[in-house]
């Protein structure tokens, strides 16, 4: 297993840094080119969500990203005080690229409705102050992650949320079925 850890302050400018880092590590791990855009967007969504939550609740605390080129061996520990990452089951975590975003803002349960709903979280007739500012429900970011990642788990805790997302490693491009070279 190869691990790259990144800790960022809760500043919007650093979300781009996290995206670039995740994409670079994923490419190096051998993720198919067609999945790199998905990883870039999913990591951006997870980090944007974490940054916004930290800015409200704990702006001085950092956000941690683990970028894991997993061979199914020992799992990384996560931030101090956080329960350890579950062990891989039947080698499920083997041959996968996993991104884990740890935030430390008090979490609420994400909305359950991540199904295929037209205009998810969007009410263009809604004039409430919240939608006036953001335009979309904060849960849309999580819904996007669910739509992009091959496997996702979102674990809200009183002391923060852990977003895990992973994609299969492999040289075969899933959209074209072709073998990637170089």
């Amino acid at each position: 297993m190869a691990l790259v850890q990144l800790t960022i302050s809760a500043l919007p400018a650093h979300v781009r840094t996290a995206r670039l880092m995740a994409t670079a590590v994923a490419r190096r791990a051998g993720i198919a080119e067609s999945a790199l855009d998905e990883i870039r967007l999913a990591v951006g969504e997870a980090c944007s969500r974490a940054v916004e939550a930290h800015r409200v609740h704990c702006p001085s605390r950092p956000i941690q990203l683990d970028l894991i080129d997993s061979a199914g061996s020992r799992a990384p520990e996560g931030p101090p005080g956080r329960r350890p990452r579950p062990a891989s089951q039947n080698g499920r975590n083997a041959q996968r690229f996993e991104v884990v975003v740890f935030d430390r803002a008090p979490a609420k349960e994400p909305a359950e409705a991540f199904d295929d709903q037209p205009g998810l979280g969007v009410d263009v007739e809604d004039d409430s102050p919240a939608t006036e500012i953001a335009g979309l429900s904060p849960d849309v970011g999580l819904a996007v992650i669910v739509g992009l990642a091959d496997e996702v788990s979102i674990e809200p805790h009183e002391d923060g949320t852990v977003v895990r997302m992973s994609w299969p490693l492999g040289k075969t491009d899933p959209e074209t079925g072709s073998q990637l070279v170089g």
Binding site: D37, A143, G147
Partner: protein, 115 residues
């Protein structure tokens, strides 16, 4: 790449040209521009996203916010986008049913005028 914004008038429509990355860091600039255009009486907007390299849900939120503002004045906000990687997030969120998404600025203008 950072965000570049430009706008011009074409056939009674304000065309907003966006280039670069729209994310939690840069989206406030796009929001300010859309608000400014609406406040100046531009209620028919076309956002040309052909040079957008990255768009996340924060950017989508800004576009939805712009749509709400122009609709309050019986206006329109349509998009020009042919890039699959950008269209993907519109599909995931169901926003393809909320926005008019066209292949060119002229097509967006013609469609609006034909309604």
């Amino acid at each position: 790449m950072d965000l570049k914004l430009d706008h011009h008038t074409q056939d009674d429509t304000e065309i907003v040209v966006v280039e670069g990355e729209i994310d939690v860091y840069t989206a406030p600039r796009l929001r300010e521009l859309l608000i400014d255009l609406v406040n100046k009486g531009n209620f028919h907007l076309v956002v040309n996203m052909e040079k957008v390299e990255f768009l996340d849900s924060t950017g989508l939120g800004v576009l939805v916010g712009g749509l709400k503002r122009v609709r309050a004045h019986d206006g329109t906000l349509d998009l020009v986008c042919t890039q699959e990687r950008i269209l993907k997030i519109f599909r995931i969120t169901g926003l393809t049913k909320v926005f008019g998404i066209y292949d060119s600025v002229q097509e967006a203008i013609d469609k609006r005028k034909s309604k």
